[in-house]
Symmetry: C2
Subunit: 338 residues, 2 copies
């Protein structure tokens, strides 16, 4: 590997000091237009690429951001991160991403690893069960960080999330408005804030329609297609009078479709299903799935915006942003025959 060209090489070739070269390159004035011209030309010629880490060491300014989420391949996070990265890059930052894999130990190690890189700031969607204490390393180092998606009630950090309660409300209200008063809430883990908030919204919608949503219609499962399908096999069996369900996400709804059709009931005709997420495939199902869209890209973009704002102005007041979900009415919900 050949030696990497540095400002000393440029200085030598241009017959200048490294100081002059640095000024010319960063464009901090103090150098004639002609000198700047020459320096830039030479830099190009010898393939000079500034060592950002050396600059960071000197200035204390980093152009690196960190992002830690449960699973970067989960479409929700993949979209969130993609827009976060794009916004960050447009502002001159690169993004280190990492999978915490729902492991608090790994998450803590990752936070410290990011700190070791001297990132300017950190975006984190904390693993379930993370307490504020999980952020102590970040706090101790006074590193700006932003919590997203999973609220841990951190009073110091910016937060960008989605209005899960409203999402639950929209789903339930849509069924209730169609005259469906008996439905299940299927999938999701009962110790996550997202799940609790959605349930809360469902109960609120029911209450607003003058009905009570009974605990026995709550069915937890992993938020996957397989788990959803299995859970529905049981529900269809044990609650054959129930012909509607709110699924924790579109994957669970996908499992529901399979299980429901296996019993001879038909989604959109004799059974109603609502999901959350609006994954691209939801529109192509037969029938197209009614679902609550959550806009992860907005979360990514707004998170980047808030982060960048805080880096510019570190004592800016803490902000809290909730992205509003939207119901996408399609054909998986049917008004029951009178």
């Amino acid at each position: 590997m050949r030696k990497r060209p540095n400002i000393k090489d440029i200085a030598k070739a241009a017959g200048l000091s490294t100081a002059a070269v640095s000024y010319a390159l960063t464009g901090k004035g103090r150098v004639s237009a002609q000198t700047q011209e020459i320096v830039k030309r030479i830099a190009d010629e010898i393939g000079f690429i500034r060592d950002d880490t050396a600059a960071r060491l000197r200035t204390g300014q980093s152009n690196l951001l960190a992002a830690i989420v449960h699973d970067t391949s989960n479409p929700f996070f993949a979209e969130l991160l993609s827009d976060f990265e794009t916004s960050a890059y447009e502002a001159g930052y690169l993004t280190i991403v990492a999978n915490a894999k729902n492991d608090p130990i790994r998450q803590a190690a990752l936070i410290d690893a990011m700190l070791a890189q001297g990132v300017a700031g950190l975006l984190i969607s904390p693993v379930n069960g993370t307490e504020e204490a999980g952020m102590q390393s970040l706090r101790f180092h006074g590193k700006p960080y932003l919590v997203c998606v999973r609220d841990i009630g951190d009073k110091q950090a910016d937060y960008v999330g989605l209005n899960d309660r409203q999402a639950g409300y929209l789903a339930a209200d849509h069924l209730l408005s169609a005259g469906i008063r008996h439905f299940a809430f299927v999938g999701g883990l009962d110790h996550t804030k997202t799940w609790l908030d959605r349930l809360d919204g469902i109960r609120a919608a029911a209450s607003d329609s003058g009905v009570t949503f009974p605990d026995e219609m709550i069915f937890n499962s992993a938020p996957t297609r397989e788990a959803g399908s299995q859970m529905f096999d049981r529900i269809l069996n044990s609650h054959s009078d129930c012909n509607a369900a709110i699924c924790f996400n579109d994957y669970v709804a996908l499992g529901a479709y399979a299980a429901i059709h296996a019993t001879g009931k038909v989604v959109g005709q004799t059974y109603s299903v609502v999901g959350f997420d609006n994954v691209p495939q939801s529109a192509s199902l037969l029938p197209p799935l009614t679902t609550v869209e959550l806009f992860p890209r907005d979360i990514g973009r707004k998170s980047a915006g808030l982060m960048l704002g805080r880096l510019k102005n570190p004592k800016r007041q803490r902000e809290r942003l909730l992205i509003e979900p939207r119901l996408i009415a399609r054909e998986s919900v049917v008004r029951p025959r009178a």
Copy 2:
């Protein structure tokens, strides 16, 4: 933001030199077990986190990897990158990811930005049309890089991709084995190597079955559900005798389902469809989609493996790895009535 603790602080607290502290922390021997003990305790107490960038400046060793792909939110790349990151992290590396957005300018800028960070190596799935010249910056700096998914015929770089020709062969052979001799190849852009390779495989399979695959049955479109659906509207109209199609990916197949059902034909009964990718939803479609699985996670993991190997041994011979696709036979392909 409080001053970040450094080895000088530890040295002062321990009454040692910074050299001793460094040796104790990196565990390079040269220091008594007791001293090491003391240093580590103090480091913990004062919340010391090593500045990796300063270390890198001195040692020239970076624990940062870069990954540039077209779109990190595309599920194929999201899965690839997720496994790449996990493998890299397990070996002590963090990964900076970035979206090239099919823009050669942006891609070049990103490469230089990664170089400026002093990454140890770079993974890239080049934007369509990238020539070897697009890698010149990496070559000039002697930076180890690995090309994945999109082969640009780079003779110097490691390559990990998928056997697209074989993927095309499997799809076509599956139709042919079911006795289907007349089918279309729909979706995908004709200037991409992936598309060309799949077509090549389709032709080879046809040839092996003693039939010719005619150019008029090739229909290009963006590889999306919407474009696929529109293209199928036309094909079903203009080629009503054709009752089978290989779709460039599962999204196009999704579009196909919608368009086909709109004409009264039924996938899996009077029309056969094969896709590529095996996205999670494919199994939940009605009927479940027969598709060719491509294993992006394997590409990510193997890429990380090769990259890490090269970092250990920079003069290791160039490697080329092709992940073998696998046909997932489900219910969207039907043998035509005699």
